[in-house]
Structures are given as C-alpha cells and as structure tokens.
C-alpha cells in the first residue's frame, strides 16, 4: 500500500499514486511552498464574513455546484443577462454596496466601527429581481472608543473626570481627552464642547443634537491628536461628517491640530504632553520580527498624556464645577505638577 500522498488533489479511490524515488519522506508532504492546496471540497454552499479589525471585513464563499450552471438550467438563455455579485449591507443605517464577484471567491470590505454587516452573494441583472444565493450572519465590527454609558449599578458608576484620569493612566489619551470633554459638559458650564464646536464650524454647519455629542467629543479628541480628517470622516455619521465638512471649508480644507489644542487649553485648561521617542514607533525593532515564538504585541503608538486641571498629586478638596477661563488661567502655573508627573514616569533609563 502506497504511503505517498499525491501532491495533486486528494487521491480518488481509483487513482494510483506513485512514490517519488527521490523523496525519502514516506508521507512526501514536505512539498515546495509553490504547490498550493487544491480548493477545499465544498460539500454545500457556504459564506463567511470575518472581522479583521473595526475597519475591515473579509468575505469568502463557496458553491457546491457551479451557480451559473444552476441559473442556466433555471432561466435558459435569459441567464446570460445576469452577473454574479456580492453585496454588503450595513444593518444599522441600511446602506448597501455591490461589487462583481471575484474569481477567487473572496473580498475585502472597508467598513465602519461599531456597525453590523451582512454579506450576500447572488445574481444581478438590470431591471430584474435579484437572485439570492447566499447570505451571511450579521457580523458586528468592534467599537474603537469607550462606551458612553456608565454602569447602572451604583457601586460601579464612574464620574467622567475620574474616568478620564484613569484612561490617562492606562495610556489611552484619545479616550481620556474624549471623556475629559464629557466631564466638562457634565459640569454644566457655559464653556463646553458645543461652544468649542461653534468656534470651529462654518455657517453651513448642521445643528447638532444631544445624541451627537459623544461622537463629537471623540472626533474633537482625534483631531486634536493629529488624526487625518479624511480618515476620521470615513467613519462618521452623516451629520458629523457634514459638520466636519463645514469646519474644513471654514479653515481652508485643514484642521490645525495645534490651534485646536490651543482652544482646548484656553477654554478648558487641558494640556497634551508628548514623549517624542514614540515618534520612532515605526522603527522599533519588533521582537517578533527576529525572535521565534515572540508574540507581536501591540504597543501604544505614541506616548501622550492628557493633563487636566483636576490632576494634582492629591485629590482636590472639592470638584471644580465650573471650569471657566479665569480658573483655567489660575491653574496654568501649577501645570508644572502635571509635567513633573509626566517626566517622572517617562524618563529614559539613562537617568537611572
């Protein structure tokens, strides 16, 4: 009995397989990487929509039988009008997009975070009903920010200012800044995120609702940290996208992050501090690239700390309910406390 596994497709019951005299391996499976596996046997029609990240999905599908052949048997000559396509539905906003089905039965989709998607494969012809073949389960992309809701259990309810501090300690600066803006809004002061938004937008800006505030804060934080507006816009809701467009129109197509930071400093007393060694992140010699077995563990892409006036070595005697500009100015000289904390945490080993 042959011990050889053919490098062609799975041996059929009647095919003879030959030993390769030059190959000492009984199983003969140390094959050249150039020899791909045959397509997997499709026992049935199947479709998979897989998450790669909050921004990308991978689709692949298979047919047990040639779908065109099936269509021809059903429709005869009329089948020639049809094209096999794939469709992706955003189940949250109802948007759909279509593409011709690829020959290798795979596709990559660019998508938005925190949305549900469903993929379909079927036949399309202009003016004809869609012939549905396959439909995937709904796949939800993960969120890329902290939840807007605190716990309803009193024991685990947070206050925004404290939570912003915690996020800052964890190295999640964008989220810390987002939640710091929430803290400002919670404090019922006149100067808040809406005030900031009005100072940035153009006259054609849409009116923002309360429900838009969490997304607005996150957007402001992203822009203040230098995120590319076009990249940020790709994942915004319609209203926030239009708002961002009005800001861009007002400011010559750009968002000046340093000016935005200046606004944050003047209005709320916020400061961002950077550790410039992390600008070299891309050049870091990743352990996994030269050491077997090393995981490719993600690291913060940039060391940023958010400093808020409430951050002192000790808790303030009372919360600062209204962070008006005069108080912000009053705090400015003691910003060195925050700076000292930052430097002490991030000093280089050469200081040891």
């Amino acid at each position: 009995m042959s011990l050889h596994i053919s490098d062609e497709s799975i041996p059929s019951s009647t095919a003879a397989t030959a030993l390769r005299p030059s190959t000492p391996d009984k199983l003969d499976d140390l094959l050249s990487p150039d020899e791909p596996l045959p397509p997997p046997r499709a026992a049935r029609d199947d479709i998979h929509l897989l998450i790669q990240s909050p921004y990308r999905l991978f689709l692949y599908w298979s047919h047990a039988r040639d779908p065109y052949e099936t269509l021809r048997r059903a429709l005869g000559e009329a089948a020639a009008q049809y094209q096999l396509i794939i469709r992706l539905f955003d189940v949250d906003n109802g948007e759909a997009r279509s593409h011709p089905a690829s020959m290798d039965h795979t596709w990559w989709f660019d998508v938005a975070p925190a949305h549900g998607y469903r993929a379909e494969v079927g036949f399309f012809a202009e003016g004809k009903p869609f012939v549905h073949l396959l439909s995937s389960e709904v796949t939800r992309t993960p969120a890329i920010s902290v939840a807007p809701e605190s716990d309803v259990e009193p024991e685990f309810q947070d206050h925004a200012e404290g939570f912003a501090h915690l996020l800052n300690e964890t190295g999640y600066a964008k989220d810390a800044l987002t939640v710091a803006l929430e803290a400002v809004d919670d404090s019922d002061t006149e100067t808040n995120t809406r005030t900031l938004a009005h100072s940035l937008e153009g006259s054609d800006a849409p009116a923002l609702e309360d429900a838009d505030l969490p997304e607005l804060r996150s957007l402001v934080a992203a822009l203040a940290l230098g995120e590319n507006p076009a990249q940020a816009r790709a994942h915004l809701s319609h209203r926030l996208a239009r708002w961002l467009d009005s800001v861009l129109n007002e400011h010559g197509g750009e968002v000046d992050a340093s000016r935005l930071l200046e606004s944050l400093r003047e209005m709320f007393g916020f400061e961002l501090e950077y550790d410039e060694t992390f600008v070299l992140t891309k050049n870091i010699n990743r352990v996994s690239s030269f050491t077997w077995g090393a995981s490719d563990v993600r690291q913060p892409s940039r060391s940023v700390r958010v400093w808020m006036p409430s951050m002192t070595l000790g808790r303030p005697d009372k919360w600062l309910p209204s962070m008006d500009m005069s108080r912000a100015r009053e705090w400015m000289p003691s910003m060195s406390v925050g700076q000292r904390l930052h430097i002490a945490r991030w000093r280089h080993l050469s200081d040891l």
């Binding site: 009995m1 596994i5 199983l27 499976d29 897989l50 298979s62 090393a294 490719d296 690291q299």
Partner: protein, 540 residues
C-alpha cells in the same frame, strides 16, 4: 491589605514541532533553546526564591503543545544531545577565548558555568521531566499554572462551535493529565476575544481568562476601575486585562529595560562569527551556520552597528538587572499610589502578561531580572502584593459585570496579524476541515467497532488541531519562517483530507495512518467524539 496588587503572567508556548522522520530538524531548536535559556532557569530561580522565603507568586501558562513536547521522550533525548553538544562547544571556547580572544573570556566562562548547571538540573534535579518540576512548584503554592487553546488556535477565526469547544476541552483534559488537577484559568491564544467565547469557558468550569486592555476599556458598560480590576462576563467567567505601562517596560526595545547597552546583544553569535571549520562538529549535518546561543557582545548603544558592538561583561549586566528590578518595583508602587487616587481608594491590580520566552531568550538577563523583582516585591509586600488572578478572585471582592469588546493583543489590537492578504487563503481550507470533521463525528456518534476507523478519526482530529495553530498564520504575516509555516499548514490539511477520505470510503490505509500517528503524536488521550454537535434534548 496592601495598597495594590501585581500579577505577573508568563505565557509559555511553542507550536508542536517534532520531526521523527529526520535525525535532526532546525525548527526543533526552538524548543531546545527555550529549555536552556528560559524554562530551566525559571524553574531554578523560582525554587531558589521559595527556599529563601521570598514567596514568589506568579501565573504561568504552559500551552498544551509545549506540555506534550516537554513530555515527549524523543524530544527529551534530542535535547540531551543538543545540550551536550552546546556544552562541548562552550568548553572549547574557554580555551579559544583564553588564548586568542581574552576580552570574551569572561562571557565564555559564564556560558560554561551556566551550561554545566543546566545539565545538572536537566539530568539530576528534574530528570528530564520539566512538567513535573512545574507541577511541584504549583503544588507548593509558588505558581499558578493555567492552560491555553489546545494547539493555540485563534479562537475567533474558528468557524464551528464544535471546533472551538474542542480547542478548549482538549486543553483542559491535557492539563489534567500533566498537572493532576483542574485549571482555574486560561490564556486565550493571542488574548483574542470574541463574544461567546466566555460561554465555552464557562461550560468547562474555567474561572478566568487574560484579555488585552481594550477588551475591557471598550466593553459595555464602562469599567469603573479600568484595567485595574477584573470584570465578570455575563456567563460568570472573569477577565483580567493587560496593563500597558508594564508591558512597555519589557517589550519596547527603545524605552524598555532589554534595550540597555549593558545587556547581551542578540544578533552577534559565534554561530556567525567563529570560523566555520571550527564550528562544523557542532552544527547540523547540513553545515549551515545558525544561532548557537553563545554570544559575546553587548548592545552597546541603540545606533551602534553590529560590527562595532563591545564585549559583553556578565557582571556589569547582572548589576544592571538589580537596578532595573528595583526600578520596576518602585514604579509599580508609585503606579499603585497614583491609581488609588483615581480609583477612590480601591486597591488596583496591575496585570502584566508577557511571553515567557522573552525572559532568557530575547532578553538574556530577563530571568535574573525576575529573580530580583520578586526579591524586592517580597520586601515591599505591605505596599504591593504579588498575586495570581486566582488569588485575587479568592479575595471575593465585588466585581463589575461587563460585555467585553472584540480584541487581541496583536498588532493594532484586533485580528489583522492572523487574517490579512498574505494568510487569508488558509481559512477556507481550515473551515472546510472543521465542518467536515463534525460531519464525520456526527455520523459516528457511537465509536466504530473497527479500530482502524476509530484511530483514523482521532488522528484526523489531531491534524485539524495542528492546522489550526495560530503560529502558522502569524509566521506568514511576520515573514519569518514562511516556508516552514506554509508547509506545516498544508501538510496537516492534506493529512486531514486524506484521512477523511479514507474514513468516508470505509477503507483505511493502515501504513499511512501509522506513519501519521507516529509523527503527529500529541494528545494521545484525544477522542474524536468531542467534535460531535450537541444534540438538543427532546422537546427543544
């Protein structure tokens, strides 16, 4: 009660690499290097700390594939030969460096001393049974060993519930075999979490798992204590999330300790530096140069060219580990103090997971560093206590319930490393095999009377498990050992398909089956019926 808690978690894993069909195999060296540089030193240091009364307490995941390799007689025998060979070379180096390379002689002496001690531990103390050594540490209360996916399969990208469940249940059974008890926790491979995985963990009674920071931070509702307290999933399993600050101090080659100029340079190795004819008796039969583990240079500086690296000074490096360990512990105490303010006095737990192999292999001085860390932690236990996740749960503190976010600890925090344009081709094959195995198992819920078919079913399950190893997709993405990883994946899919065909035909190629069994011999206790779909009770 201390002001805070520190939980060091070491993840020890290697993919199953065993090639009895060849007298030697390059990739088997991964295991041998890890035994020499990581596992034996770790065992020795933890025992020493315990005997000195330092009460180290840490968590160690030893993946099932690593357990199987450490317990495998062939690999144990090959390691003995590897160690003897390396020691012989190191002893030759004493003479060569003394005569001609005096600036390397101190390092050469260090290697001989280390390797002689390694051999003594391997032969006399642990009698080639490192699993038993780790088990005894657990039984003595020094470490808490947790399990991992059976073959480190990337669970969110496994397509069937049965195959996902099998990765977990086979792992638990394997753990019980090696460690004679039930595991409390699990290291999800790559800390990869997707909704529903916790339900599978709860099914088998696992209490906790390790996740990345944004699994909890982006979960719902907001985590009151951030990553500085565990959360409970809705199925009752707890998640402990990674602290980024401590991660950077070891992982980062820029600001982390391992990048210190005093420490040993990884890339300069006598396998590349010494004359080839001198090395030949110690290389593999192919005579190809490779890393041998004897390195004489120190990092010297971040931008120093390899050719300009200075000689390694063991004493200076050892002294540096003391300074860094002290700094690490002091920073943890300060971190706890800062966090306590943000947490309204709630004592935080700082969870620090790392690959075990970083300590000793990449960072040569890493195990020494850990020794000193635990010595200092013992002195400061009133301020910060070293605990395992199990210890923390035993405190019975109130814990928030949360739905975690999809996540992993890989690059960019999701699944990109394991699913991208370079390795997406693997999943149709893997998923087809997963579905096919469940179909085969379902049609044979009662074990077949034909023992050959039973063996073929069990072996098909092993081949699927080996194909599912996340290491292959990872290595393809990293562009490190692409050829080997690709070959391995294809081999296991081919073997699976061949066995599946035989089973479906009812005619097993016995000689081929025996050869496959001989090579891929992990999990002898495995039962294919674990892949059966669960049947609904009547009336459901």
């Amino acid at each position: 009660m201390p002001n805070g808690f520190f939980s060091l978690i070491l993840h020890a894993h290697l993919p199953f690499v065993r090639h009895p069909e060849h007298p030697e195999f390059l990739e088997e060296d991964w295991l041998y290097e890890a035994i020499t540089e990581v596992y034996l030193p770790l065992l020795a240091v933890l025992s020493k700390l315990h005997e000195a009364g330092a009460h180290p307490r840490l968590t160690l995941n030893i993946s099932p594939t690593l357990c199987e390799m450490l317990a495998d007689p062939l690999l144990q025998e090959r390691y003995s030969k590897h160690l003897d060979n390396l020691l012989a070379l190191a002893e030759k180096e004493l003479d060569r460096t003394f005569r001609a390379l005096p600036h390397f002689h101190a390092a050469a002496c260090m290697y001989v001393e280390n390797l002689r001690e390694t051999r003594r531990l391997w032969r006399n103390v642990y009698e080639q049974n490192l699993i038993d050594g780790f088990r005894r540490l657990q039984d003595a209360g020094i470490i808490e060993i947790i399990t991992c996916g059976a073959t480190h399969g990337f669970l969110p990208l496994i397509s069937t519930l049965e195959a996902c469940r099998a990765q977990i249940q086979i792992a638990v059974a394997n753990y019980q075999k090696h460690f004679k008890r039930y595991p409390r926790g699990i290291w999800l491979p790559e800390c990869a979490y997707a909704e529903g995985l916790d339900a599978l963990l709860a099914e088998v009674g696992l209490e906790y798992f390790i996740a990345d920071s944004h699994a909890v931070l982006y979960g719902q509702p907001r985590p009151r204590y951030g990553v500085f307290a565990p959360v409970r999933t809705q199925t009752g399993v707890f998640a402990f999330a990674r602290d980024m600050e401590t991660s950077e101090q070891v992982w980062s080659s820029i600001i982390g300790y391992p990048g210190d100029p005093c420490y040993r340079e990884f890339y300069r190795d006598i396998g590349w530096d010494a004359p080839l004819e001198y090395l030949m008796p110690h290389l593999h039969a192919d005579g190809q140069r490779r890393h041998l583990g004897l390195k004489y240079h120190r990092i010297t500086g971040r931008d120093v060219a390899q050719s300009d690296k200075l000689p390694y000074e063991p004493e200076a490096a050892r002294h540096r580990t003391i300074i860094h360990a002290h700094h690490f512990v002091e920073e943890r105490i300060k971190q706890v103090s800062r966090l306590s303010q943000a947490l309204d006095g709630h004592a935080p737990i700082i969870v620090s997971p790392y690959d075990a192999e970083l300590f000793g292999h990449w960072w040569f001085e890493g195990v020494q560093f850990l020794e000193h860390v635990f010595q200092y932690l013992a002195e400061r236990r009133q301020e910060i206590a070293s605990v395992t996740p199990g210890d923390y749960l035993d405190l019975k503190r109130p814990i928030q319930t949360q739905r975690l976010s999809v996540s992993s600890w890989g690059e960019e925090g999701y699944y990109k490393v394991w699913l991208n344009e370079g390795n997406a081709w693997m999943y149709p094959h893997q998923h087809a095999a997963e579905a096919r195995l469940t179909a085969l198992a379902n049609s044979r819920r009662t074990a077949p009377s034909d023992n050959l078919i039973r063996r073929a079913l069990d072996q098909a399950a092993r081949e699927l498990l080996l194909a599912q190893s996340s290491d292959w997709a990872f290595q393809v993405y990293q562009n490190t050992t692409v050829e080997y990883a690709t070959r391995r994946f294809r081999s296991h899919i081919r073997r699976f398909n061949a066995l599946a065909e035989d089973i479906e035909r009812g005619e097993i190629d016995e000689e081929r089956l025996a050869e496959i069994e001989r090579r891929d011999n992990l999990f002898p206790e495995l039962n294919y019926q674990i892949y059966c779909a669960r049947q609904k009770a009547a009336g459901q």
